[in-house]
């Protein structure tokens, strides 16, 4: 056989082998929809395993301290957000499966009590990156971070939507009043998370927290606040090329150098939080974000941190960026929340295939699972993505109740 024929034959064999194996790879890693999201409103096996791990961590102070220290060494925000996403996941799990309610509420109460204690004793800066630790540059006086106020309020509201805690009504009301006052003080109806740095992530969480509080109290503070926020956002905070909301901006609405364009780590959660106040805008933002930021490679899903038209540079939010496709682990994780919230099953399962392949899942004998490539906040975000739904539904139902009543009167 001639050399050229042999080389061609070699290449053909390798190409055929690749054509056989590579399409099979994502199929081997992709969980079924039932494994991921469960069936008949109950948790799926994957969520069960993640939940077991998270509960074990919060019921074992030593293990929890180790995990928290590992995260805080890199980013104190992860410690805080790990609490928020776990509380939201627990509230959803309790609403899905009432037999889990007592255990879920006990852990939620533990998390909220410890978080509020740390905020009181160490200050809200305990949960911020070092550049937020100083006193200079804050527009609000006294300085407050809507990152901390919004997520604490959201955690408390989630708990109260599962089962009432009368002793939290007053502190929640005080926080909501402060958040609204701070947001109203800005021409773009946004409060700062860091000195003169407003984030879409945090302000959308704050809007959701106010909406959930309305659902509990029968008030309607979220509607006018959201109306004004959305009007200002559409005028000032939309990225021209993509139509997506930008990630971060100053209190006066100027784009902030830290994230002047849209970012995956902000927009997927932003769209999900906006579901509580404006379903249409939320769905539009998710559709655009999915089109601009998500993709598949050989059947494996990923999400970019930035759209092609607004490239940014790797930072603590994006995490490491995979070259060529520009995939971001953090953006991909949060994209799962977006995909689940907007029932984009194909994207969710493709992202889960990547996680199964490269997240290095570790199953323990006690039935728990964690992903070695991630950390507690990553697992909590995934758990939330796999459980979300009932909490937002419950809030919408309660917010609708008095309005229906008003109409009938």
């Amino acid at each position: 056989m001639r050399v050229s024929t042999r080389i061609l034959l070699e290449l053909l064999c390798v190409a055929l082998a690749a054509a056989i194996w590579l399409p099979a790879l994502p199929l081997l890693h992709r969980p079924s929809a039932e494994t991921a999201r469960g069936a008949d409103g109950e948790l799926g096996p994957l969520a069960e395993r993640l939940l077991t791990r998270q509960l074990a961590l919060w019921n074992d102070p030593e293990r929890r301290a180790g995990e928290v220290a590992r995260m805080r060494a890199g980013n104190a925000e992860w410690d805080f957000m790990g609490r928020t996403f776990l509380v939201l996941a627990l509230a959803n799990a309790a609403l899905r499966e009432p037999e889990r309610r007592d255990e879920a509420l006990a852990v939620i109460d533990l998390i909220v009590a410890e978080t509020v204690r740390l905020e009181r004793e160490e200050g809200f800066r305990h949960f911020l990156l070092p550049y937020g630790h100083g006193t200079a540059g804050w527009v609000s006086d006294p300085a407050r971070s809507i990152f901390v106020d919004g997520e604490i309020t959201l955690m408390m509201a989630a708990r109260r939507l599962v089962a009432e805690r009368d002793d939290w009504r007053e502190p929640m009301d005080a926080r909501v009043a402060i958040m609204i006052e701070q947001m109203r003080a800005s021409p773009v109806v946004s409060a700062e998370s860091y000195p003169d740095e407003c984030w879409l992530f945090c302000n959308s969480v704050a809007l959701a927290a106010v909406a959930l509080t309305d659902a509990l109290e029968g008030t309607d503070r979220a509607t006018p606040l959201a109306r004004d926020w959305i009007a200002a956002a559409k005028k000032t905070l939309i990225h021209e090329e993509t139509g997506l909301l930008i990630a971060t901006y100053q209190v006066d609405g100027s784009p902030h150098p830290a994230g002047p364009g849209p970012e995956g780590t902000s927009i997927f959660i932003g769209a999900h939080m906006l579901q509580t106040v404006d379903q249409e805008l939320a769905a539009d933002q998710y559709r655009r974000a999915a089109a601009e930021l998500t993709g598949t490679l050989l059947g494996f899903g990923y999400a970019r941190e930035w759209p092609v038209s607004a490239e940014g540079s790797m930072d603590i939010d994006s995490g490491p960026i995979v070259p060529i496709v520009d995939a971001s682990a953090a953006s991909s994780g949060l994209a799962m929340v977006g995909a689940a919230a907007f029932e984009d099953e194909a994207t969710l399962l493709a992202l889960l295939a990547s996680l199964e392949a490269l997240g290095f899942p570790e199953d323990e004998a006690d039935g728990s699972r964690r992903y070695l490539a991630g950390n507690q906040v990553g697992d909590a975000v995934l758990l939330y993505a796999l459980t979300l739904g009932p909490l937002w539904d419950e809030a919408a139902r309660r917010r609708q109740e008095p309005r229906d009543g008003e109409r009938s009167r």
Binding site: V14, A17, P320, L372
Partner: protein
């Protein structure tokens, strides 16, 4: 193995080397040190390097090794189909059996 020529055996050897390296790295704890993928640094720089090396070998083993094995199998099938057995043995001394090599 008799049906494979040098290239086919090289494919299998490379696949086996990847798999053995992957198992070795797993035994020394490389899999537990992969958290750098999410930006969560392992305890030491050495652990971080071990984890990243494990990720590279893992991707190569899972993505490439099976392709090499399948390609080796395909080569063997094509070689048998394309050439009469005695002609193949005559052309490729590596694939010749001891009996065929005897005078």
């Amino acid at each position: 193995m008799k049906a494979l020529d040098r290239v086919g055996r090289f494919h299998l050897l490379l696949a086996a080397t990847l798999a053995i390296t992957w198992i070795g790295l797993r035994i020394v704890g490389g899999r537990e040190q992969v958290s750098a993928l999410s930006g969560t640094s392992p305890a030491t720089a050495g652990a971080q390097i071990l984890g990243l090396f494990y990720v590279l070998i893992h991707v190569a083993t899972v993505g490439l090794a099976p392709i090499l094995v399948i390609a080796a199998g395909l080569r063997a099938i094509v070689a048998r189909w394309a050439s009469p057995p005695d002609e193949t043995a005559g052309n490729d001394p590596v694939a010749r059996t001891p009996e065929e090599s005897a005078p």
